[in-house]
Amino acid sequence: MPSKKIFATAATAGIVISIPAFAISYLSVEEAQKVLFPDAQNFSREKIIFTAEQKVALEKLTGVKVTNTAQPLWRAFKKEGTQEVLLGFFIFDAVLGKHDLIDYAVALDPNGAVIGVEILNYRESYGSEIRSKSWRKQFQGKTLAAPVKLNDDIQNIGGATLSCRSVSQGIRKILGIYDTFLKTK
């Protein structure tokens, strides 16, 4: 067992390493469907296309700027005897985070209550070149000693709290979409 102490590897302020792109893939759409609706046997895909008026109405309803013109979604079903029972809606969307898009999925039950939210892909990009490849190399191979590589880049970045406000706004938009398009009257 290695020492429990944390040690700094390059604590000189002169060395500044840029991260050109930091991206984590957590789940694919199919995996997220399984996680959020573990009992579902069937997902049927559909797409809601917003008219210009609907878009304005949705923005007014939710107070969130709607940038997309269409919203893909899946209805999750479970077989009970010969009947298919609706478990809820799986809605996949992307919002602009601090620097780049965050893909996320929201699961709603048939009454529009949130069952769960999963982040599918998280990206940050800065576009600057890596100044010290060798410095970063020291982490490779040592990381996690696992057969599956989580990412090609350094996996964990410590820093101040990143806000999830954009995802919260996205969820509000999705609840608005439910109210406008999916709610059974």
Binding site: A13, V35, I119, A160
Partner: protein
């Protein structure tokens, strides 16, 4: 000793929570069981957030914040424990860590007495740290071999491996200033660059440094102590020593000083 055999692989999930993103990576041999474990952990975190977030009107903290002078508010045992710990850290830090603005009476178990005016309790960071500790506790109990939990900069790992962590440059958050390795420890890093103004000094106590971090056995204390370093700079190292933990500050000229 390596944690991985052929069947073992990392599973990583992320959900929004505590005003940030909670990212959990676990090493598991059975993917289905691991997925179920992660779902349970996230459910527990959601419950904690409901109890501890001042933004949720039904939370214990929101109830305390609504209460008038001399009122007594019943709270859940876990909220009470965390408030007690926060009060303890507040005292030991000479009120540099101060998650409420008016004193609270915490003498009676699971009861909070409002002593003066509205308390304005905001457990923010320490609640996030506590949630990370809870997640780690549940993962250990579920028999997971190794894990890293990161809730927006409050992180903790366990298991027989080093987790490389890069620390952002506070003046240029797209870049990293230095690296650390985390091994069965917590690391909390604070800075004002993504959420300006969330750590506030007083008129006498402005922020002393650009960013600060604390490595401690648990994330709850590490988070609270980070705030002390933010306000007190190198002078805060003495308090860290009394807790037996280590930390670093990133000074205004961008030099990194370790305790």
């Amino acid at each position: 000793m390596t944690p991985s055999s052929k069947q073992n692989s990392w599973l990583r999930r992320c959900r929004p929570g505590f005003g940030t993103f909670v990212d959990i990576a676990i090493l598991a041999s059975n993917q289905n069981e691991a997925t179920a474990t992660l779902s349970k952990v996230f459910a527990r975190l959601a419950l904690l957030e409901n109890r501890l977030s001042r933004f949720n009107p039904d939370s214990d903290i929101a109830k305390v914040n609504r209460a008038k002078r001399h009122a007594t508010v019943p709270v859940s045992a876990l909220t009470f424990r965390l408030l007690r710990r926060a009060a303890n850290l507040q005292m030991k830090s000479g009120k540099l860590f101060r998650p409420w603005q008016q004193p609270l009476g915490l003498a009676k178990k699971n009861r909070v007495r409002i002593l003066h005016g509205q308390a304005k309790v905001d457990l923010g960071g320490i609640a996030k740290g506590f949630a990370v500790d809870e997640a780690i506790r549940l993962l250990k109990r579920a028999g997971i071999g190794a894990a890293l939990v990161n809730a927006g900069g409050d992180m903790r790992s366990f298991g027989p491996c080093d987790f490389p962590i890069l620390i952002r440059d506070p003046q240029n958050p797209g870049k990293c200033l230095f690296g650390l390795k985390l091994n069965n420890q917590s690391l909390c890093n604070s800075g004002n660059y993504f959420a300006p103004g969330h750590i506030r000094g007083t008129r006498r106590n402005r922020l002393a440094v650009l960013a600060a971090g604390v490595m401690a056995p648990n994330c709850r204390d590490a988070d609270a102590l980070t705030k002390v370093l933010m306000l007190h700079g190198e002078k805060g190292f003495a308090l860290l020593r009394s807790f037996g933990v280590s930390g670093y500050i990133i000074a205004k000229n961008k030099t990194v000083v370790f305790s």
